[in-house]
């Protein structure tokens, strides 16, 4: 059964002509069809994917096919795709078809990947449960009564249920790593600037990064290497040429210094989660790593800092959705103010409106210094905490989330409790660092537990190397939810 193979294996099977791209496509399309109740996809593009798969088969028949030739993938519906709806999980973009591909989409296509469709997500990536989507919540393949995490919940559920071997996501405060943790996946948030943001519907421009949601570190490396690189269309894109992360996956861990921030293991974390992470640390130590306690003293300020900066940027980024040029427009506006007010009131959901209001307030005259400017200062403190920690260690390690996946509806009425889900992840975005979440066990209810590795700037290769070596001695990442085996 092809879906039992990792993306890396499938890519090799395709190259060896053991299976064709079209056969692989049909297999996964059938699984998507059968798993409709997960609500993982907003758009499935069977026709477009078939054309791409045929082209991939032609490439595979020739010399030197590109690395992902024929490999099916899905894109979070935040990436613009030429000719295919890009909704960003919002009613306001329900009718939007981009005339261009995001750089990430373009690069993965150039690497030969076949785009199956677009996955569900929290509206404008604002959420940690995938419950704010205009297209309804996504269910966790491990337990349909639970959330898959968010905002890249559709991509996570799709890969966890093996509806597709790998998918893209974006991570502004944890939106790749938290769903990866909830769904037993390996999810990487790259360093800010490593992957182009061009064509990604902006949420918080200084924090957004695209990355892979994958079955393993090796798969994530393969996808990242295809996605990353300088893009002249994104002024915040990094010009450095970096070696592929794939090249160092097998490096040894002897001498690796793991920093364990005491703030990550305090009373806030669930005991089962903490125990699984500690066991994983022990496994890494067996592979030659050592541990050292470090401190990130300003971590607690991360959530308030993040919830000023991200909404502030979002309030401005989302101003373009005004009903004038594209997207949802209210019926029969009587004048310009009415056009704006009703198009936005009807087009945006509650969480998006909440954040636009928070952000507008934080930037308002008279409040700017107290909120936005202060948050920027805290942001620098958080970044310098990490700098200090990395003087003592090579990577920082902790749980990805305080708990395993929570129930659908459990936190929808309590935004602050929802926001606290990102307590271990959003400081990484504030500091612009790379972070990877990987599965390290299951709780008593059989729900996946995720562990996060954080690296210094541009330390992706080391993170994936550590995760890969761990996955060499464990098999949590190979587990499939019973219903989707």
């Amino acid at each position: 059964m092809p879906h039992r193979h990792s993306l890396t294996e499938l890519a090799a099977m395709l190259r060896a002509r053991e299976i064709s791209a079209v056969e692989l496509l049909d297999h996964f399309l059938a699984r998507i069809e059968a798993a409709g109740e997960l609500n993982a996809f907003i758009t499935v593009d069977a026709e477009g994917a078939r054309a791409q798969a045929r082209a991939a088969d032609d490439m595979l028949a020739g010399d030197d096919p590109p690395p992902l030739a024929g490999v099916p993938i899905a894109h979070k519906d935040i990436f613009c795709t030429r000719g295919l709806k890009t909704s960003c999980g919002s009613r306001i973009l329900d009718n939007f078809i981009a005339p261009y591909d995001a750089t990430v989409v373009e690069r993965l296509a150039a690497a030969g990947a076949v785009t199956l469709g677009k996955t569900n997500m929290d509206e404008f990536a604002m959420g940690s449960s995938n419950e704010t989507s205009w297209y309804g919540p996504v269910k966790n393949p491990w337990d349909a009564a639970r959330v898959p995490g968010g905002s890249s919940g559709g991509s996570a559920a799709a890969v966890a249920a093996r509806l597709v071997p790998g998918a893209t996501g974006t991570d502004t405060g944890g939106s790749i790593r938290q769903p990866a943790a909830f769904c037993a996946l390996t999810g990487l948030k790259p360093s800010y600037g490593r992957v182009s943001r061009y064509g990604i519907v902006a949420f918080a421009s200084s924090l957004d990064q695209a990355g892979p949601l994958a079955q393993s570190a090796a798969d994530a490396a393969l996808l990242l290497d295809a996605m990353a690189g300088f893009d002249s269309r994104d002024s915040t894109s990094l010009e450095n040429q970096l070696p592929p992360t794939r090249a160092s996956l097998e490096d040894g861990l002897r001498g690796l210094r793991i920093g364990l921030p005491k703030e990550f293991f305090d009373a806030g974390v669930d005991a089962t989660v903490a125990a699984a992470v500690e066991a994983a640390v022990a496994a890494l130590c067996k592979l030659g790593a050592t541990t050292v306690e470090v401190s990130l003293p300003n971590m607690a300020a991360g959530i308030p800092c993040y919830y000023v900066i991200a909404p502030a940027e979002a309030s401005s980024n989302l101003a373009r959705f005004d009903g004038v040029r594209y997207g949802y427009r209210c019926d029969d506006p009587v004048d310009l103010a009415d056009l704006y007010e009703r198009s936005r009131a009807e087009g945006f959901g509650a969480e998006v409106k909440r954040r636009i209001m928070i952000g507008t307030y934080a930037l308002s005259s008279g409040y700017y210094d107290a909120y936005y400017l202060k948050a920027q200062k805290i942001r620098r403190l958080i970044a310098s905490d990490f700098d200090t920690a990395f003087e003592q260690c090579d990577i920082v390690l902790g749980p990805t989330t305080p708990t395993t996946a929570f129930a659908l509806g459990e936190k929808t009425d309590d935004p602050v409790s929802m926001y606290l889900n990102d307590i271990y992840t959003n400081t990484v975005n504030l500091a612009g660092l790379p972070g990877v979440s990987l599965p390290v066990g299951f709780d008593a209810a059989g729900l996946p537990i995720g562990m996060q590795l954080i690296g210094p700037y541009l330390g992706e290769a080391r993170l994936l190397n550590v995760a890969h070596r761990y996955q060499g001695v464990t098999d949590y990442h190979r587990q499939l939810p019973g219903m989707f085996a």
Partner: protein, 477 residues
């Protein structure tokens, strides 16, 4: 009671880059609506701005030209407000740290030099245009202009009269065209201005409440609007009222300003640094390279024209206002043996009049400077008279031919053969016995009449100097 007015100007200089400030779209004026707006300009989801370095080069040149500090690090900020011709819902501008810091411009009004402080100049993108006509009660949006680079130049409130404001604006207008950073076309909106005006009692140090005047897009409107506004404010205060801080629109048809937006309706623009654009870094090498690429500026050129060509200040002033005019003058000088003052008189006189008459500017002149130079040579070497030269010039203008072939083909060559002139003089004297009598009775004025008669009979071709000499010799004989 005497009043003093205080004026500061904000000038929007549209930079003449080929493409927009944050996208690759063309900036040419007058294209079909929305044909010069790409995904970035119309703010589709996911698009990002990329700075056009050419705009920074132009801003740096401007900074150097107004003796300003060029900030090594400047920051783009978002100015947030909703308007249909502002596609992103924010304008990318510079707020706390502009590219150009404090500088100044010296202007001359009534023989006095006034130094006007320039507070700052910052880069920003222009908005699109809202078209309210021809859409049956709806509004059309043209985004061709959206993203066109602007340099907004803010002056200190250093001007005390509308005349000073206009002089400052003219000087700025000349400067940006010299620098080649703006075409200066005010009709097309390439060079726009808002004025901040307040009044106070003479001797008072505190500034009065100011109003901001918009829609004053010609030198004449600037002058009229400011003068109207000064009078209005004085009347308000003298009538016991107080000036309200507000934005006022100038209506050129009625020659008045009207309230457009009060302080309480002022936007809260929620400026913050644009996270899509890293700070703009200008290093010393960049500044030095820009400095080396600077053309000679108007003040320096005027000094040189006075010193090395021996021109009068007023003539030099006229020539340097427009760089192509100054260049033309120099090209004429290079092509002629005639003296520079004559060349200046021609360029400021006949040439300027012809340009004006045809409504074209110097860049479109149909007569090469070399032809004018040769024309001046023909006057100097006595081939034609100054009067005939004007006719020749007129033909040069309409035909594009060079002066020698016109003189040749129309037989305009001056008669300098003394014998031939004597014959004509003799004939005129024979026909003018009455005038000759008057002359001999002491009336010198009739000489003019007699010269005129000789010139007429020679069809203007007789050398006037020789005519004079010969005539006097014969009369006095």
């Amino acid at each position: 009671m005497s009043w003093e007015s205080v004026i500061g100007l904000e000038v929007h200089v549209q930079l003449s880059t080929r493409s927009k400030i944050f996208s690759g779209s063309a900036t040419a004026f007058g294209a079909e609506p929305n044909t010069q707006a790409n995904a970035v300009d119309i703010a589709l989801p996911g698009v990002l701005p990329v700075m056009n370095r050419e705009a920074a080069v132009m801003a740096v040149k401007f900074g150097l030209a107004v003796n300003a500090t060029v900030n090594q690090r400047s920051v783009f900020a978002r100015k947030n407000y909703f308007y249909p011709d502002l596609p992103k819902g924010y304008q990318i501008s510079q707020y706390e740290i502009p590219i150009v810091g404090p500088g100044y411009l010296d202007i001359e009004v009534d023989g006095e030099i006034l130094r006007v402080g320039i507070t700052r100049a910052h880069l920003e993108e222009d908005a699109g245009k809202s078209l309210h006509e021809d859409f049956h009660g709806m509004t059309g949006i043209d985004l061709n202009r959206a993203g066109t680079p602007l340099l907004e130049v803010v002056s200190e409130p250093d001007m005390r009269s509308a005349a000073q404001a206009v002089a400052y604006l003219r000087k700025m207008h000349t400067l940006v065209r010299y620098l080649g950073i703006c075409d200066g076309n005010m009709q097309e909106g390439s060079f726009r201005c808002d004025a901040n005006v307040s009044v106070r009692r003479a001797g008072d140090d505190r500034l009065g409440t100011r109003t901001e005047l918009k829609n004053i897009n010609s030198f004449r409107f600037v002058e009229k609007a400011i003068n109207f506004e000064i009078e209005r404010q004085v009347e308000v205060i003298e009538g016991g009222g107080s000036v309200v801080q507000e934005t006022r629109l100038y209506d050129p048809d009625r020659d008045e300003t009207r309230s457009m937006r009060g302080k309480e309706q002022a936007h809260d623009y929620r400026y913050f640094p644009d996270p899509d654009l890293p700070p703009l870094v200008i290093d010393d090498d960049f500044v030095e390279a820009s400095r080396r690429a600077m053309p000679e500026l108007p003040d320096a050129k005027r000094r040189r024209f006075v010193e090395s060509y021996g021109l009068r200040e007023a003539d030099a002033d006229m020539l340097v206002t427009d760089r192509p005019v100054a260049d033309y003058f120099e090209a004429v000088c290079a092509a002629t043996a005639a003296d520079a003052r004559t060349a200046a008189n021609w360029v400021n006189g006949d040439v300027a009049a012809a340009l004006n008459r045809d409504g074209i500017d110097m860049t479109a002149i149909p007569v090469p400077a070399e032809h004018v130079g040769r024309l001046l040579d023909r006057i100097a070497d006595g081939t034609i008279s100054g009067k005939i030269a004007k006719d020749v010039f007129s033909t040069m203008w309409s035909s594009g031919d060079d002066p020698d072939s016109i003189i040749e083909s129309r037989g305009l060559k001056q008669i300098s053969d003394a014998g031939a002139i004597e014959q004509i003089v003799d004939a005129v004297l024979a026909d003018s016995a009455a005038q000759v009598e008057q002359y001999r009775a002491g009336n010198q004025k009739v000489v003019g009449f007699l010269v005129g008669q000789v010139m007429k009979r020679s069809e203007g071709k007789a050398n006037p100097k020789q005519v004079n000499e010969i005539l006097r010799r014969k009369l006095d004989a």
